[in-house]
C-alpha cells in the first residue's frame, strides 16, 4: 500500500502526472466538428478524446416511445474498441448502458423538452480514447453539442470528478488515480442554477471528506464551464466577444 501511495503522490502533494491537488488536466473543446449532426463537439480532457453529436428534435422511432406532452431525450455513450489498452468488445457493455443512463439524466434537467412534444433529441457520444473521468468529459462535450444544435436550454451542464488519493482530496482524477486511489466522485452541475444533476461515488469517504470532495468537484465544474462557454463563444461570436 505504501509503495502505491508514493507512486501516486509525492509528500508535498504533487500528483503522478505532475499536477497539484486542485489542478485540472488540460481541456480543449471544439464546437461544430461534424457536418451531418445538428450540433456537435469534440473534447480533449487529459488523454480523453471524445466526440458528441446531437440530432433532433426529430420524429421518434419506435413510435410508441413518443410522448404527446413533451419531447424525449435519448443518449448513447459508446467506447471505440481501440479506446483502451485491451481491445474492447464493440457491443455496448453494462457499464456503458449505465453511463448512458446517468448522462441522459444529467442533461435532461437542462433541456427544455416541453417545447417539442412527440419528438426525440438523440445524443450520441463516442469515446475515441479513454482516460480517467471519461463520463464527465463526455457529458461536457454533450452539453456543448446540445447548445450547438440550437436546442433551448435552461443552463449548460458542466461535469468534473474529484476523489481521494493517498489520503488527500484531489480534483479531476486521472486513470492511474482512479485505478489505485481510494475514491472517485463524478459530479455534474448546472452552473447558473446551482443544481447538481449527476453524482456518483465509489470508494470510501468520511462524512467530512464527502462534503469536501463534493465542493472540490463543484469548483472543477465551474472551471470546466468557462472552457465550454469560451468554446461556444468562439464559434458564435467572433473574437470571443459578445
Amino acid at each position: 500500500m505504501v509503495k502505491i501511495m508514493t507512486q501516486l503522490m509525492t509528500e508535498d502533494g504533487i500528483r503522478c502526472d505532475g499536477r497539484r491537488l486542485d489542478e485540472l488536466r488540460n481541456i480543449s473543446i471544439k464546437v461544430g466538428v461534424l457536418k451531418n449532426a445538428d450540433g456537435s463537439a469534440y473534447i480533449e480532457f487529459g488523454k480523453n478524446k471524445i466526440l458528441a453529436g446531437v440530432f433532433g428534435p426529430r420524429d421518434v422511432h419506435p413510435k410508441h416511445m413518443a410522448n404527446p406532452d413533451s419531447g424525449i431525450l435519448r443518449c448513447r455513450y459508446h467506447m471505440s474498441p481501440f479506446s483502451v489498452t485491451e481491445r474492447k468488445n464493440p457491443a455496448p457493455s453494462r457499464r456503458e448502458i449505465e453511463i448512458s443512463k446517468v448522462i441522459k439524466e444529467a442533461l435532461q434537467p437542462a433541456v427544455i423538452l416541453k417545447d417539442y412534444p412527440r419528438t426525440v433529441i438523440d445524443v450520441f457520444i463516442e469515446v475515441l480514447q479513454a482516460d480517467g473521468g471519461s463520463r464527465c468529459a463526455a457529458l461536457d462535450a454533450a452539453a456543448v453539442a446540445l447548445a450547438d444544435a440550437g436546442i433551448p436550454m435552461r443552463d449548460l451542464v458542466s461535469a468534473c470528478a474529484a476523489g481521494k488519493v493517498a489520503d488527500r482530496i484531489v480534483l479531476d482524477v486521472n486513470n492511474e488515480e482512479d485505478q489505485e486511489g481510494q475514491a472517485d466522485m463524478p459530479v455534474a452541475l448546472m452552473p447558473n442554477m446551482g443544481k447538481i444533476t449527476l453524482l456518483q461515488l465509489d470508494g470510501m469517504l468520511k462524512p467530512e471528506e464527502f462534503k469536501t470532495c463534493m465542493q472540490t468537484a463543484l469548483v472543477g465544474c465551474k472551471r470546466v464551464y468557462e472552457v465550454q462557454r469560451k468554446a461556444l463563444m468562439e464559434k458564435y461570436f467572433q473574437n470571443g466577444e459578445q
Partner: protein, 267 residues
C-alpha cells in the same frame, strides 16, 4: 398514455400532502417502511434471504464455487452481485435482455457491497493467481413496490450473512470440496443502502412505487459500519442542490444505523 395523466394527478395529491408534512401511506418523511428479513429460505443455495420492504419483495440466493481469479486480481476472491426484475413482479417488466433501469439496479447493488468492502476477498484465495472462491449473489425482485435499490441491497447483505462457505482442499493444484465442513463468510463491515427521493422541495426516504412515479430525482447512498460513505448514485430526470445532498448524506447515516442493527441480529 393515459398513465401520464394519472401520474400528474398522483403528483398533485402527493405534493399537497407533503406540504402538510404527510405522505400518502401515512409515514413521516424520514421514515422507512418496515423491513422484514427471513434467511435460509432456499436450502440448495449456500445462503439466501427473502426480504420485504413494505410492498416490495426480494428473494436472494448466494452460490459459492471455486473459480479462476480475474487476471489482474489474483490475490482476491470473486464477488458478483446481480439483480433482476422478474416478469411476475411488475406489469411493466418484460422477459428478455435487461433494460437500462435493471442494469443500473444491479450495478448499484453490486457497487454498494463491493465499495464498502463487506467481504475480505483476500480470505477467499485458494491458490494465488490460480484458484479462488467465487461468491455469486443473485437477487430477484418478485413483487415491485418501489425502492428496489435498498430492498435488493438488504436482501443481498442478508443472503451473504446467512452464508455457509464450503471448505475446499487443494489436491494436485485442484480445489476439492471437503464434505460437511463449512465456515462463516469473512465479513469486515455491514453496508446499508439508503435511497431518498426529491418531490418538489421535499426529500423523502424509501419511496413507494407511486412516489417514484412522480419524483423529480433520486439518490442512493451506501454507508459502512464505521460511518463512511462508500457509494452514491443519483438518478431521475432532475437534480439536487448541494445542501439537499449533504442533508441526504446525514439521513443515510442515521437511517443506516437502524437497519444495521437489524443486520447484526442475523450474525
Amino acid at each position: 398514455m393515459g398513465s401520464q395523466i394519472l401520474d400528474q394527478l398522483k403528483r398533485d395529491k402527493i405534493l399537497d400532502l407533503l406540504k402538510t408534512g404527510k405522505r400518502i401511506d401515512g409515514r413521516a418523511l424520514d421514515e422507512q417502511r418496515p423491513l422484514v428479513i427471513e434467511t435460509g429460505v432456499i436450502p440448495k443455495a449456500n445462503g439466501s434471504a427473502r426480504v420485504k420492504l413494505g410492498d416490495t419483495e426480494i428473494i436472494t440466493g448466494v452460490k459459492i464455487q471455486p473459480d479462476k481469479p480475474f487476471p489482474d486480481l489474483g490475490d482476491k476472491g470473486i464477488l458478483i452481485c446481480t439483480a433482476e426484475i422478474l416478469p411476475l413482479a411488475d406489469p411493466n417488466a418484460e422477459p428478455g435482455p435487461p433494460n437500462e433501469e435493471v442494469i443500473e439496479l444491479a450495478r448499484v447493488v453490486d457497487r454498494g457491497i463491493r465499495e464498502t468492502e463487506m467481504i475480505d476477498l483476500h480470505q477467499l484465495v485458494l491458490i494465488e493467481n490460480k484458484s479462488v472462491i467465487g461468491m455469486f449473489i443473485d437477487s430477484s425482485v418478485i413483487d415491485s413496490g418501489g425502492n428496489l435499490f435498498d430492498a435488493c441491497s438488504y436482501a443481498s447483505v442478508a443472503g451473504i450473512l446467512s452464508c455457509s462457505v464450503p471448505k475446499y482442499e487443494i489436491k494436485n493444484e485442484v480445489p476439492v470440496l471437503v464434505e460437511g465442513v463449512t465456515s462463516k463468510p469473512p465479513i469486515k463491515t455491514l453496508p446499508v443502502s439508503v435511497t431518498m427521493a426529491r418531490i418538489g422541495d421535499y426529500i423523502i426516504i424509501d419511496p413507494t412505487r407511486d412516489e417514484e412515479s412522480c419524483m423529480d430525482a433520486r439518490i442512493t447512498i451506501t454507508t459502512n459500519s464505521d460511518g463512511n460513505i462508500c457509494a452514491v448514485q443519483k438518478g431521475g430526470s432532475d437534480g439536487f442542490t448541494a445542501e439537499q445532498l449533504l442533508q441526504c448524506s446525514e439521513m443515510a447515516l442515521v437511517v443506516g444505523r437502524k437497519i444495521r442493527k437489524q443486520f447484526e441480529q442475523l450474525m
